[in-house]
Symmetry: C2
């Protein structure tokens, strides 16, 4: 099956040829690029500079022995990290060989691989293996698949130039047995519709292409039994929604995307007749774009078990953008690259990104308000994003009305995130985890991820009777999804609305979030209506996990001064300290806080009497596993509860100029009117502006409503209407 | 006294002439600059771009009435902010008039001043005035002086071009009466050796030059009675140490520096024969450089009542660098400008900065290890800074062995700050204050600034018997200063050492801080020896206010799980929650934490048994005035206590690459040996390196020591010696 890698091979040769033409052509290309982009003619291209830096790093590694230790440690430990690094070294040496043609890189990678060919046949299961997904070189098979994905790409660049003996030894010693282990040796993972399965399919399939083993490719595409009930294509069908949303959320989407991107690229190169990038209406490219859209100021929305630091700079997204741009030449993808840290993947596709940016081809990536439908068929709820503009740091609100997101999902139906001015304003904790920090439970999810991170109280949504949605049972939750009631623009106001009546038995939860534009240069109002409806009495808690420094509340609070007690007993409440409590409140109140150089005010009203609590995270945390976080919790006891909140960004706190402007709430009144077939929520501003949001009792999309309200006739169809 | 401003006047005309030559010359200048600096020939100069932006801002302000309200509010309130802004508007309009020659800017500023000429004569003391330092337009006279400093600079640019009527009205209506009020009307401030006095002197003296009133100038220079016992020159003598250190610390130094710089500049222009910039061995330029040196990663060391956000970007330092560069052409000052945010002051000196940077003249500002002696004669202690390199974000340690710093000083003798990797690692709280935030006590210092911020426990130094140094009496503290025992390099190790025996009756406090270099690319070890010596039993607490996330301790801790109690009763202890406590410990222990992408480990040993506490700030804080901060507190009860700590920066926490390296402590052993005339502190590293610090019993500088230790003869003179 030589033909399988002939394309790659000629592409490699072409690369070497360009280099063989010597510096004169390279300079003349650079000159042209420089003329287009006003860069000095003496500068080397950004990509060449990056490859020179990579060469320096690999050259340094060549000076010492590369250890290939007997596997001993779990994630974060020495042997784990060493093998990870070795996989990358082989990959990077291959890319440098391709880029420079210098034999030393080929020989360096080859020698490391020969060591692995000695080691691998001696291994059984890793001594610290995860029983469900064991590896040999690593504690979990996932890491082994990732290792092979890197290594096989490096190997491809020099396989043809190896001696037959070396090739034979490497392939029989490590590449084939590892590909066997990951496929026929690990059927429970390989045939699983899950990102671990995708990584295994990619590793095995890419190995099949490089080694000329079409059967591996077929198994990877169609499952071990080659019937299409498992494998890569099935995973493309099942793991993304038609909008390119990945059920576990953007943090895992980024990770899951990488094998989709790389294996698709290999398929395209080896079997272009499969038109893999057109598969399922171009799902791979959709997923890449959707991942970028699920970020704010460079970081992914930290929903579900997310590591909050992850964002556009991750290597997976670098591959994604490089491959997507190579296929589409869409200049806004270059704009997305410009939001990254400046480095690209060390491949020809990476070079193209930097060259085309230097040639002035980039256009800004356009962030959008969008509804990313969840579920294979797009009918299992949605992640809804409202943005005030196309910039990565315009105001944004996210409502999570998706499915649970499997085992890494959080119990946060209708959860809300609010961003402004490049900061989180109302935020999600993310995962309770220190990635790969051995001292923190081997870098794995910490016990507090279950006892707090996933619980409903850790999110910005309604908690009933201090219990989590679906009683904290993710398999139960996975059976249901919220109904999207509205997504779109109504009379100049952006609206997202959804409901769910399965999260708590006998309680219907509804949320409407509206982004109301203000004058130019002022961030929009965000109006948030959240209600729980039930025939029976319940305790309703609305937690608001605000960031920054509390400045003032217009209601009294009694702060704990010499003793602080735990706020509750279970379901995450046992991790909160009760910092302060208000007396019983009625009607409209507000609270203001400071983040960076802006003030935020939340003006809110609750149906019936309520109390406000301030809490701090950290109780029952014997191992100091939490960050310091805080929340406002509004609590009311009733059959039905309605919370209306208006968020606004205002003022200025400029320490360099010593200018402070703090205006506080600009909301005059929040009123709730129960009408014949709907409830009207009216927010009046001090400047006279008025916005009314109507939420119908009957939320069906085709239901028409005709209501008299404040001496006006209002007509609409569907669950939600807005006037202003 | 026309001659007093003739220089300025001709300089102004020259500026206008250049502009009158039109765009052709400007373009040819730009082209030359561009050729030198590889900037595209089509770009305008950075300074012109900045002035164009300023013009747009002023043009917008011209479209609406400029309110000149009757004074009503204290700091942060509406009238306060409006008058501040108006002062700046007059200044900026003046600068634009000078830059463009466009009459509209002159007329705009004139009209605002005419409104002030109507208002000012009707005013008595401000309704919210601070009794000790009252103002008329503002609640405190300080703001009034600042206003006049800005306004008189703007006025100077167009005074000659006003009608005699307008000039007369403005000068008799507002400029003269305000200058009178700030001098003869406020003698307690004007003749005070204090930064308020400097501002008043500058305002009145600069007004004197512009209005041709030499008597005002003389009073400003020599005090109201013109005997030299007060006034600007006396302030230059008294307020800075010979090294340019300002007793209140860098936050106030920055603020105090501005009137020194601007008034000096006016003196230089009007009376160059005074050679004001050579006065006291060039003290003004020394102070400017010293201010930059007292910063880390762009922010000032937050000692004393500092607002932590303040740093190199502040407008005062922009004036300082512009004037200093104009006088010296020192290219490293351009390097300091490059650490700012890119904007400069809107003056010819500002233009020169940007033009010369564009011409490639800048060299990096060199941050240094330095001893900034405190006290008028340089004999009252010192601020000692150790740095591992010349970059603004190299490792740095600061020991505060200065005087109290007057009423804004904190009780933190021998206090320590530790920085690395562009982050604070062990930090100072700074002032408990939200500058100008009306809702936070009018933006003034909060009560918790006294009850916590200034107290010793809020700092990283020894607390004896839960009391603050000098029992928290700043006037008592002001009488004393620590003795510097050593500052310099000993056998390749940078050392700072000091002692004080007045902070607590009967207790001598000594601290030695050493920066020990490691291999290239690895941040140095910081060894900190702190000891208290007394004949009587005491409780010694060493608080370490570490930033970031605790990762692990190698000693057991019992964490409070459901109830957290206050740590102590008074002197700041009442604001700490006790989060965790260890059992009784002996010998060497360590603790590690994470900041950004680096880990930090503090390995420590204490003479005799001790306990470790983890505390959190926030008890007895009914108004939520504190940030969330944390500390490790080591406590021992003894006659004499010795704490040896070794700080190291290590590892990597890279979420983009998913690489975590955490090695923990690299310290094998910390040992303390009491020898004949000294104590030897030996730190042995796991790699075999050994450092020994000798601290003599007799700390006199001229005392020689000859000791046998570990079979070696060690000889030195003075308090401290190091071998490695």
């Amino acid at each position: 099956m030589i033909s399988n890698f002939s394309y790659k091979s000629s592409w490699l040769k072409a690369g070497v040829t360009v280099l063989a033409l010597g510096l004169s052509q390279a300079c003349s290309e650079t000159v042209q690029a420089a003329e287009k982009s006003d860069i000095s003619t003496q500068s080397v291209s950004a990509f060449d500079a990056q490859m020179t830096a990579l060469a320096a790093s690999i050259d340094a590694r060549m000076l010492t022995d590369v250890p290939v230790p007997v596997p001993a440690d779990a994630g974060g430990g020495y042997t784990h990290e060493q093998h990870k690094q070795n996989g990358k070294t082989i990959y990077e040496a291959g890319m440098l060989y391709q880029h420079t043609g210098d034999e030393k890189y080929k020989n360096f990678a080859r020698d490391i691989l020969l060591d692995y060919a000695e080691l691998y046949p001696t291994l059984g299961l890793h001594p610290e293996h995860k029983p469900s997904t064991a590896g040999q070189l690593f504690w979990q098979g996932l890491n082994e698949a990732v290792w092979l994905v890197y290594v096989i790409q490096g190997y491809e660049t020099f396989r043809d130039d190896l001696s037959p003996q070396a090739r034979e030894k490497i392939e029989t010693g490590v590449l084939n047995p590892m590909a066997d282990f990951l496929s026929i040796g690990s059927p429970q993972t390989f045939d699983r519709i899950h990102n671990h399965g995708t990584w295994a399919a990619a590793a095995v399939g890419m190995t099949g292409y490089v080694l000329g083993q079409q059967e591996r490719v077929e198994k990877s595409l169609l499952g071990l039994s080659q019937d299409g009930e498992a494998g890569f294509l099935k995973q493309m069908d099942m793991l993304f929604s038609p909008d390119g949303y990945y059920a576990e959320g953007p943090y895992y989407q980024r990770y899951a995307m990488m094998p989709f991107v790389l294996f698709s690229q290999a398929i395209e190169k080896n079997e272009p007749e499969r038109k893999i990038f057109e598969y399922r209406d171009g799902i791979v490219l959709k997923a890449i774009r959707a991942t970028v859209q699920q970020s704010y100021a460079g970081k992914f929305f930290p929903i579900n078990d997310a590591i909050r630091e992850k964002g556009l700079n991750t290597v997976e997204l670098k591959y994604g953008l490089a491959v997507a741009y190579d296929l589409t030449n869409d200049p806004t993808l270059l704009g997305a690259v410009q939001l990254q840290d400046g480095s690209v993947v060390p491949t020809p596709e990476g070079r193209k990104l930097l060259d085309d940016i230097a040639a002035g081809k980039a256009k800004p990536f356009e962030f959008k308000s969008l509804e990313l439908r969840d579920g294979r068929n797009g009918d299992e709820g949605a992640l809804m994003v409202l943005r005030s503009g196309p910039e990565s740091d315009a105001s944004a609100v996210v409502m999570k009305a998706t499915t649970q997101g499997l085992g890494h999902g959080h119990f946060d139906k209708l959860g809300l995130l609010y961003y402004d001015n490049a900061s989180e304003v109302v935020a999600d904790y993310g995962a309770v985890r220190f990635l790969n920090v051995e001292a923190k439970f081997g870098g794995r999810y910490l016990p507090e991820n279950d006892s707090y991170g996933k619980q409903t109280i850790a999110h910005n949504t309604l908690v009933v009777d201090e219990k989590s949605h679906y009683d904290g049972d993710w398999r139960e939750s996975q059976k249901f999804s919220p109904d999207v009631l509205k997504f779109g623009n109504i009379n100049g106001v952006q609206v997202a609305a959804a409901e769910v009546d399965t999260a708590y038995e006998g309680v219907n939860l509804q949320r409407v979030v509206a982004m109301v534009p203000r004058e130019d240069g002022i961030a929009p109002y965000v109006i948030d209506i959240l209600r729980g409806q039930s025939g029976d009495g319940h305790v309703y808690d609305l937690p608001v996990h605000y960031k920054g420094q509390l400045i003032e509340t217009n209601f009294p609070l009694e702060h704990e001064t010499t003793q602080m007690n735990v706020f509750g007993k279970a379901n995450g409440y046992q991790h909160l300290w009760q910092r302060a409590v208000s007396p019983e409140l009625e009607g409209q109140q507000d609270m203001s806080w400071l983040i960076g150089d802006k003030f935020y005010t939340m003006t809110f009203a609750v149906d019936g009497p309520y109390k406000a609590y301030l809490t701090e995270l950290g109780a029952n945390d014997p191992n100091h596993n939490f960050r310091k976080e805080q929340a406002l919790i509004l609590r009311t006891e009733a059959d039905n509860a309605g919370f209306v909140s208006v968020y606004e960004s205002h003022g200025r706190y400029d320490n360099d100029e010593e200018v402070t402007v703090f205006d506080g709430s600009s909301v005059e009144q929040i009123s709730t009117d129960k009408l014949e077939t709907a409830t009207a929520y009216t927010v009046s501003m001090k400047n006279g502006d008025v916005v009314t949001i109507y939420l119908a009792d009957d939320t069906q999309a085709d239901q028409t409503h005709k209501i008299s309200h404040k001496n006006k006739q209002v007509e609409w169809s569907g669950a939600v209407h807005v006037t202003q």
